[in-house]
């Protein structure tokens, strides 16, 4: 025996470790990050193809389309949140590790946002421009998307934890998350539309931020409970 004991990482260490791990795994499989982004762009392009490219319609529908596309792309990427961990057995390790499970759940959600929500926010201006969204509105749009996708990652983690390992998990996950995501969608898209009309957006942003805070404080505990239940 060497006599040197390995230190168990503390709270911050555990949190950082789980994020680093997911980022590293995503680095090795860029498709996981890129596919939802391509999906986002493609969904956004479906509307003008179907409805017609008249500029007035584009400008009218722009905020809503960007938001719906972002929501769908996020649902797509949520499917695999715990899937690979479940398949190779590391999910059990995560559940058994000494750090509090809610903290690790928060870490998974944070990593998910960094890999899906944040790229969406960064790519959204490109989509917005094709919808002829004026430049000053794009800032509001990005802020609302950022707050919204954070909430989605947090709430989505609960759904992903509840459905991990189930047969038709994907469709079920969407069914579970969508009711919770609807208020985010409503306020997010409305806020951007209000901005386009020149109306004040503070109320909408505050709502999104409040929802985000609520999710931030409560969702990790629900995720942890769901993980333990799903993995018995």
């Amino acid at each position: 025996m060497s006599g040197q004991e390995k230190q168990v990482p503390g709270l911050l260490g555990g949190f950082g470790a789980i994020i680093r791990r997911d980022l590293l795994l995503a680095w090795k499989r860029p498709g996981d990050v890129l596919n939802p982004l391509f999906f986002f762009a493609m969904v956004a392009s479906l509307f003008p193809l179907a409805v017609g490219p008249s500029p007035e319609q584009l400008m009218l529908n722009g905020p809503g389309v960007v938001w719906v596309a972002a929501l769908l792309a996020t649902l797509l990427s949520l499917n695999s949140l715990f899937l690979s961990d479940f398949e190779d057995g590391s999910l059990d390790q995560i559940i058994l590790s000494p750090q509090p499970l809610p903290l690790l759940g928060l870490g998974k959600a944070a990593a998910h946002w960094l890999l899906s929500g944040l790229p969406l926010v960064l790519v959204s201006p490109l989509i917005a421009m094709t919808y002829r969204m004026p430049g000053d509105i794009i800032g509001v749009m990005m802020l609302s998307l950022a707050l919204g996708t954070i909430s989605l990652s947090l709430l989505g983690a609960i759904g992903a934890a509840l459905t991990v390992g189930l047969n038709r998990g994907n469709a079920l996950l969407s069914l579970l998350i969508l009711p919770l995501a609807m208020p985010i969608l409503i306020f997010g898209a409305r806020t951007v539309s209000l901005a386009a009309a020149g109306d004040p957006v503070a109320a909408g942003i505050y709502f999104l931020a409040a929802y985000c805070m609520l999710a931030l404080t409560l969702a990790p505990f629900a995720t942890a409970a769901a993980l333990k239940i799903s993995n018995e």
Binding site: T163, L175, L176, L178, P179, L180
Partner: protein
């Protein structure tokens, strides 16, 4: 007093007690609903705006009220089952879900029928109360879908309990939505400051209907939970004795 609750939590005791309660609940519910319907349809005075059309309130409001109460029953029962591990509580949650979904559907349907002449539209996507009630219907569906997707009953109980509790956040939003946001929907008429703002002859049938629906929901819930309990406890001795009393030839 605690012994009463302790006994209540025992499935065979509940099974027998519920059987005795159900007929009374049906009777009370039916009586109140008949009173409310007759009084509301034929004896309540006419509304200024909508003449006789407002009478839809006598089914719409009770249905909406039960739809939300049912969700609370489901979420609280699920929480009790999850935290205190009471099997019976999980059975209650499972039984409440389809009933709640039906009442939500009724609330949305009657509301839509009422909305057509009153607001000129079958549906209004921008309205917060309509949207959050629809959302609640989706929450019910999600709950039932999750239950159906998990084969192991105990696991299904716990997973759906987490879901029910997360969704419970929606309920205050529905109730307060008409106060927080401008809406086509009118504000609260009964539970508001200064007492009910509605004529007594219109109010009493409405209260009767709400109470009647509550009793009916109670009866239906007890009936469904009885069936759930029977199914879940099928391997136990008390169920065997119930179905095939000792001494009966096979």
């Amino acid at each position: 007093m605690w012994r009463f609750f302790h006994k209540l939590a025992s499935p065979p005791h509940f099974y027998g007690l519920a059987a005795r309660m159900i007929p009374w609940f049906y009777a009370a519910g039916l009586a109140l609903v008949i009173y409310g319907t007759v009084a509301g349809l034929f004896y309540a005075p006419v509304d200024e705006e909508m003449n006789d059309g407002f009478r839809i309130i006598y089914v719409h409001v009770p249905a909406a009220y039960i739809s939300m109460s049912a969700y609370m029953v489901m979420a609280i029962a699920a929480g009790i089952g999850l935290i205190w591990r009471m099997k019976l509580a999980h059975a209650v949650a499972a039984g409440a879900a389809p009933l709640g979904a039906w009442f939500t559907f009724l609330a949305l349907l009657t509301g839509s029928i009422w909305g057509r002449p009153m607001w000129g539209t079958w549906w209004e996507w921008g309205d917060p109360r309509l949207t959050s009630e629809l959302l609640m219907l989706f929450l019910y569906f999600g709950y039932m879908a999750l239950r159906a997707a998990i084969d192991d009953t105990a696991k299904a109980d716990k997973a759906s309990a987490v879901l029910a509790m997360v969704g419970a956040v929606n309920i205050p939003i529905i109730h307060f939505s008409v106060e927080w946001w401008t809406s086509l929907h009118q504000g609260p008429t009964i539970l508001k400051e200064g007492g009910p703002g509605i004529h007594p002859d219109m109010l009493y049938p409405l209260l009767g209907m709400i109470l009647g629906f509550t009793f009916l929901f109670g009866a239906l819930l007890l009936a469904r939970v009885r069936t759930e309990v029977l199914q879940r406890e099928r391997r136990s001795r008390w169920v065997r004795n119930l179905i095939m009393p000792a001494g009966e030839a096979a």
